[in-house]
């Protein structure tokens, strides 16, 4: 084989690989191009800005605004046809430690205790409160400090400019409100001011108000522009990007000061998912454009990938995930008091009311003797009482009111009938779940499970999984019809008479949280720990220092605002590249 043939074959195979990996996008090549001085001087750019922000979601929009308000010429290049990204679908709570509303309300949130809370949850295996950095690495500690220091100034600036007015949701607890390290268990959550009382639609409001402000203040927004390459000069500084438009044309943007990536994680790239995440993850409610573009682009740049093994997780409907249903949401509220999750053996394996990220640890449990994931897909089962009194369209509730999208709901007049339909559905998705089927003793076990659970429900105490004993579990309980003799609002006996209902659930992501490592100002670091001049990353496309932890509701977006703010401030001070 000639050299040319081999390289052509490699190129072809890479194209095929990327085509297979990308969901519905044209063959694309990602990477970095270093230009010799003469080429850099002569390269024709279609437009020039000071700061180019790649991605117009919950990280990119605020970063563009912060950059613009400092006087820079700013563009957002968004791959999707519309701004918003994952944040548009999110509830958009944002977790802001020591925020101004807390100060006004007299809620103390001392920094040393905040750092202990996040350190304990992020690195439980190393946590030691007697150490100066609490057991965190220097980098993790610096990143967590940055969240404490900058999330609140970021939120205040967005609010004062009318880009993101907020209201204080002082009653919302952290996800481990009872830990002794949590000295401010309530009060850190802010929410877009005009959102619904249910706090479920904050993302739509936030994207509307931030994009309106961006256009008002002169940020140029181009949608349908997929950034594929960063361009570097001969000194190794990033000087611009190359994007592919929806029409298939190439667009080159010069960035005099910096390029900021805020392009989301790799939730919708099955190849990256399989190779970096633990267990089987079936996509998630991240924007469908979150295909790991920055992981691929930065691979050409000697970066340090970090925290690739963790994601912000939530259970999702197997059927909606496979259908790529636009209404797919994480199951944030496991609604229903007369509701349980069982595995294929008909047994409960988890406290159903745990916070969404925590429930997901169950799916990847491994049975080393049988060589299988016994909980690969779990089955939520509820009765008519729950259907009548707990249905909701919010927060990914599996129990939905009549007339709503209910493609995921399985019905049976008896438990046996229900099991038969569950088997049919599992067979339909056989290739996605490794041929998983209900065990032969499923119905017998399920009946025993229901009897045991119903006893717990009557007593108000779940002796197996302690359902409903923690503050956060009541937050996610959803609405119930309170019964006079109900001792625990999260549990009520499940009728075995029928009709009965079920839905199949699997592990999913809000998004991943690994990528190139940055410093706490969002500068992407090379292998020797030195910032790559002109290259920044924020949000889910770069490494999060949270490791496994999902500290609280809004633990995603609060920190993202902090890093958007710090990246914009640092990028602003960059000298213009040549």
């Amino acid at each position: 084989m000639t050299q040319d043939n081999r390289s052509a074959q490699r190129a072809q195979s890479r194209r095929n690989f990327i085509k297979a990996a990308g969901a519905g996008t044209a063959a694309a090549t990602f990477g970095a191009v270093t230009l010799p001085a003469s080429a850099a001087a002569n390269l024709k750019f279609d437009a020039e800005f000071d700061i180019v922000v790649c991605g117009g979601g919950g990280g990119g929009l605020p970063c563009a605004l912060f950059s613009r308000w400092l006087g820079n010429r700013v563009a957002i290049l968004e791959k999707a046809g519309s701004v918003g990204g994952t944040a548009a679908k999110a509830a958009f709570w944002y977790w802001v430690p020591n925020n101004e509303a807390m100060k006004r309300a007299g809620i103390a949130d001392p920094k040393p205790d905040f750092l202990k809370y996040v350190a304990r949850l992020s690195r439980p295996e190393q946590y030691d409160p007697s150490l100066p950095k609490l057991g965190l690495s220097e980098w993790e500690y610096e990143m967590c400090e940055a969240i404490y220091d900058s999330a609140s100034p970021a939120a205040e600036l967005l609010a004062s400019k009318g880009a993101l007015p907020y209201r204080h949701e002082a009653a919302v607890p952290d996800y481990w409100a009872e830990l002794p390290e949590d000295k401010a268990p309530r009060g850190r959550v802010l929410f877009p001011k005009d959102g619904l009382p249910s706090m479920s639609d904050g993302g739509r409001v936030a994207i509307r108000t931030m994009s309106t402000a961006a256009r008002r203040d002169g940020v140029e927004i181009r949608t349908g522009y997929r950034v594929q390459k960063v361009l570097l000069n001969s000194a190794g500084a990033v000087i611009g990007v190359e994007a592919l438009t929806e029409e298939g044309t190439t667009f080159r943007a010069r960035a005099k000061k910096a390029v900021v990536f805020a392009t989301g994680g790799f939730t919708h790239d099955p190849e990256l998912r399989k190779n970096f995440l633990h267990g089987a993850v079936y996509g998630g409610c991240a924007a469908l454009t979150n295909e790991g573009d920055f992981v691929r682009i930065s691979s050409a740049l000697d970066v340090q990938l970090r925290n690739m093994n963790y994601s912000w997780m939530a259970p999702i409907s197997l059927e909606k995930a496979i259908a790529k249903d636009g209404s797919l949401s994480g199951i944030f509220t496991p609604t229903g008091d007369s509701m349980i999750y069982v595995n294929k053996h008909g047994k409960r394996v988890v406290n159903e009311k745990l916070a969404y990220n925590e429930v997901c640890a169950s799916f990847s449990e491994w049975d080393g003797a049988k060589g299988e994931y016994p909980n690969l897909a779990l089955i939520s089962i509820w009765d008519q009482q729950a259907q009548d009194n707990c249905a909701s369209d919010d927060y990914g509730s599996l129990i939905v009111p009549p007339g709503s999208n209910d493609r995921h709901v399985i019905r049976g007049n008896t438990l046996a009938e229900l099991a038969a339909v569950i088997r049919e559905r599992l067979a339909k998705y056989s290739s996605a779940i490794g041929g998983m089927d209900l065990s032969d003793d499923f119905i017998d076990n399920l009946q025993a499970t229901l009897k045991r659970f119903n006893g717990f429900a009557q007593a108000g105490k779940d002796a197996d999984f302690h359902r409903g004993e923690r503050v956060v579990e009541k937050l996610f309980n959803g609405s119930v019809k309170k019964k006079a003799n109900q001792k625990n609002e999260t549990m009520w006996p499940i009728s075995t008479k029928g009709p009965c209902y079920a839905a199949l659930i699997v592990a999913g992501n809000l998004d991943t949280k690994g990528g190139p490592k940055t410093n706490s100002n969002g500068q992407v670091l090379d292998v020797s720990g030195v910032p790559i001049k002109g290259l920044y990353g924020i949000g889910n496309c770069v490494a999060s220092a949270s490791a496994r932890a999902y500290w609280a509701g809004g633990g995603t977006l609060g920190p993202i605002l902090a890093f958007a703010y710090r990246a914009a401030n640092t990028a602003h001070t960059e000298s213009a590249s040549t």
Partner: protein, 128 residues
């Protein structure tokens, strides 16, 4: 000679008709790609398919505003909808900036490129 001339004119006319048809087909095909990229995250397009974050768009042209069965519209959308029916002109305004047509509604979308809007609408027109 005259016969040949007529033949030529007829042929040219046929060709230009065919070209126009092909161009229109191309526009619809590109429109489908654009519509998928721009709208499919929230909307379904097939008859009887469930609503997503937004309503199903099958049969959108000719349908009154805020009238997809089973979809829960925002108060702002309902307020702006009174007496209006989706036609190409209104869709063009909508896609230019949804927040101008129905301020405060749940959908944030703006496309400044007239050619892109035209292609998206060309595809939406086929959904009947």
């Amino acid at each position: 000679m005259r016969h040949i001339q007529i033949m030529s004119i007829a042929l040219a006319a046929c060709l230009s008709l065919a070209t126009a048809a092909a161009r229109s087909q191309d526009e619809i095909a590109l429109g489908k790609t654009l519509t998928t990229n721009n709208c499919a995250v929230c909307h379904a397009f097939g008859q009887g398919e469930p609503n997503g974050q937004g309503p199903n768009l099958f049969g959108i042209i000719g349908r009154p505003l805020a009238a997809a069965p089973g979809f829960k519209y925002s108060a702002a959308m309902k307020a702006a909808a009174a007496g209006k029916v989706w036609d190409e002109k209104l869709l063009d305004q909508w896609l230019t900036d949804t927040q101008v047509v129905a301020p405060g509604n749940a959908m944030t979308y703006f496309e400044g490129d007239e050619a892109r809007r035209r292609k998206i609408i060309a595809y939406l027109r086929t959904l009947h």
